[in-house]
């Protein structure tokens, strides 16, 4: 018996083998009865020296099973198996073994495991799709049973009122749980245990006490989560009620060390007994306002390390945090005249600036009208999107601009891979009357991320405007795009500087298809 086989035999006893490796070892053992005896003896030693061969994480398995069960139920009694294939390989998990719960994952179509066969087919399928591009087929995805989202983008600042919206795809009993960043779990809906949780299909805003927002952020920095669960089965709240109110001491998971989603789904399952539910999750983070502007990507550091490298330590990477990245590009006439500052620099003269926001493509699944007789109000949505046309890129910069060495600083904090619905923000701070990207790569990156045109009044290109630069004025443009959404459906808003930066923040907001207006 070779050394490798010996080690593999231990792995076989402990279950550390993949199915293919296990099959090979089984064949090796079956070839000689003495090997079978050795296996039995090793197993006997294992049984004597421990209670189990390995550490089975029941809590994770339970959460995974409940997710599969919810999906199974959504498919009907004759639904398909919980797995893509008969047996699939467990996907990579983090060292702690907790299942990855990403923002916005839905319980009825999320699995931690991916079929090996499916993995092997991904590459050729992608290649086939790239070779034969076809028109997008009409959406055939089943409607979501339940969907939850927040009215405020993450990260949230302390003191902010957070609105929570829930879209129920079908009639059912709804429960909305909120896990704060400090770990405490509360019930957002029904606010009172005696309230009937049944809701009709529709979109609702979950209101807090006194008909206000769902909650006001008063939590420490961290990541919180909101779970909305919808079930056709009745909910029983007896276990979680004390003195006709929610018992916060009972709103805890039944096992220790549960992950966030698992703890809340466990509570919902205890409310349902053997019933099933569909659910949706949304995560948020509470962070200081400066949190988003403290990091530089290595590429951007190369561009700006001499002049604009931050003097402070970057925040560590945070897995499963919501993406809050921004790009801030500063152009100035000369290097070293003024270092980058996180706060807008107040000029002696009153600056002329504007803030342009491109809010990304609008979701096609808009909110449904308020259900008649409901106790909730429909979420308020902005008017129709204002399309923003991409500008014609002007890569050539004037010699004066290059010689002046405009400074580019791109702080970029990415805390997780941006999802399809996430937005990327880009900010341009321009001096001397326009936006003159000094570095072609920086320009390309910014434009690609922003998908909106930044144009000076009168049709002048930013590069041309930069070459003039007689007037000290500043403009800020922030664009947010949906990277994975359908193109060309972005909408934006341009605001006067006073509307976002100063005491006159209540000033009017002007919508515009072009990002920056220059006075």
């Amino acid at each position: 018996m070779t050394e490798g086989i010996e080690e593999s035999l231990l792995g076989f006893v402990e279950g550390d083998c993949s199915p293919d490796e296990a099959a090979a070892i089984q064949a090796w053992i079956a070839a000689d009865p003495r090997r079978g005896e050795l296996l039995d003896e090793v197993r006997a030693v294992w049984r004597l020296t421990g209670s189990s061969t390995r550490q089975w994480v029941v809590a994770e398995a339970r959460v995974r099973l409940l997710r599969s069960r919810g999906r199974h139920a959504a498919q009907g009694p004759a639904g398909f198996s919980a797995r893509p294939g008969p047996i699939s390989r467990v996907a990579e998990t983090n060292p702690k073994g907790t299942p990855g719960i990403a923002r916005g994952r839905r319980g009825y179509h999320h699995y931690d495991q991916a079929s090996r066969a499916a993995q092997s087919m991904i590459t050729p399928l992608v290649a086939l799709l790239l070779q034969n591009p076809v028109a997008p087929a009409p959406a055939t995805t089943p409607p979501r049973a339940v969907r939850v989202w927040l009215g405020s983008p993450s990260p949230l600042a302390r003191g902010a009122a957070v609105r929570v919206y829930v879209e129920a795809g079908q009639d059912g009993n709804l429960v909305v749980l909120h896990r704060r960043t400090d770990g405490r779990i509360e019930v957002l809906f029904p606010k009172n245990p005696s309230t009937d949780p049944f809701v009709r299909a529709g979109t609702y805003e979950i209101r807090g006490g006194d008909d206000r927002a769902a909650w006001v952020v008063a939590e420490p920095d961290g990541t919180g989560m909101v779970l909305a669960a919808l079930s056709p089965d009745p909910l029983r709240f007896d276990e979680f009620v004390r003195a006709a109110a929610w018992d916060s001491a009972a709103l805890v998971p039944t096992w220790s060390g549960a992950d966030v989603a698992g703890s809340m789904s466990d509570i919902v399952q205890r409310m349902l007994g053997d019933g099933y539910f569909n659910y949706d999750l949304v995560t948020y983070s509470v962070a200081p306002p400066v949190y988003a502007q403290q990091d530089l990507t290595p590429q951007q550091q190369d561009l700006t390390q001499q002049e604009t490298a931050p003097a402070y330590d970057a925040y560590p990477t945070c897995l499963n945090c919501t993406f809050i990245g921004e790009q801030l590009i500063i152009y100035e006439r000369g290097f070293g005249r003024r270092r980058f500052q996180r706060e807008p620099v107040r000029e002696p003269r009153q600056p002329t600036s504007a803030l342009a926001l491109a809010l990304g493509p609008r979701s096609t699944a808009g909110p449904q009208p308020l259900s008649p007789g409901s106790r909730f109000t429909s979420p308020r949505h902005a008017a129709g999107p204002v399309p923003i046309e991409p500008r014609a890129r002007a890569r050539a910069t004037t010699p004066s601009a290059q010689s002046a060495g405009p400074r580019t600083h791109v702080p970029f904090t990415r805390f997780s891979a941006p999802a399809a619905e996430r937005s990327t923000a880009a900010a341009f701070v321009a001096r001397a009357g326009g936006l003159a990207p000094a570095h072609p790569e920086a320009l390309g990156q910014a434009v690609t991320r922003s998908d909106f045109g930044v144009r000076e009044r009168g049709g002048r290109t930013p590069a041309a405007a930069a070459s003039q630069a007689p007037v000290r004025s500043r403009a800020v443009a922030v664009a947010r795009t949906g990277a994975g959404a359908a193109p060309g459906v972005s909408h934006g808003v341009a605001m006067e500087r006073e509307t976002w930066g100063g005491s006159q923040a209540r000033a009017g907001i002007a919508r515009a298809g072009v990002g920056v207006r220059q006075r």
């Binding site: 050394e3 010996e6 080690e7 231990l10 076989f12 006893v13 402990e14 279950g15 550390d16 083998c17 993949s18 199915p19 490796e21 296990a22 099959a23 070892i25 089984q26 064949a27 053992i29 079956a30 070839a31 079978g36 039995d40 003896e41 090793v42 197993r43 006997a44 030693v45 294992w46 049984r47 004597l48 020296t49 421990g50 189990s52 061969t53 390995r54 550490q55 089975w56 029941v58 398995a61 339970r62 995974r64 099973l65 599969s68 069960r69 199974h72 009694p77 639904g79 198996s81 919980a82 797995r83 008969p86 047996i87 699939s88 390989r89 467990v90 495991q113 399952q269 007994g273 053997d274």
Partner: protein, 196 residues
Amino acid sequence: MLESHFRSQLPKLEHHVPPATPHSWESAFQAYYVELCEYVLRFVGSAEAAQDLVQDLFLRLWDSRGPRDATRLTRPYLYVAARNRALKYLRHRRVVATWIARAVCEETPPSDTPEDLCLRGELDDAVQDAIAELPARCRAVFVLRRREQLSYREIATRLGIGLGTVKSQMWRATLRLRAKLGPYLALPLISEDRAG
């Protein structure tokens, strides 16, 4: 005659075993998930596959609606269902027929009787002595693996040794324990059909 008399005086141990009480779907999962995973692991040798099979079993039990009435979710029923599922998996994976024939002979591990618990208590001392007599490096690796459930990589990091060293030390510890505990391996408690 005398033998039959003593036999009649012996307590019927199986009567002390708590009867298999019916469970709800949820409580059956909590009670038997680990047991079933251990059992299925003996067939398939892969924890991933074992977990998948047990999950599929419970999912099927829930979907079929029948066992949710808490009349069939008993330990024997679950073990038989898990065994059948594991054998089906082996055939599907085209595992060699010899292994399948061996797996068919696997019996359901019985519940612990008071006698088993008593014998296990006595065995613990022997096991502790055997572990204590292991070489220091062997003992450290073995204890970290079996008691603290650390992965091989974590053990290597903690002890500052290579991953291959950890595996080889683990194998050596296993062989030494096998030799020292050999007399106990033949006890009914850890006979072939139950030991592991």
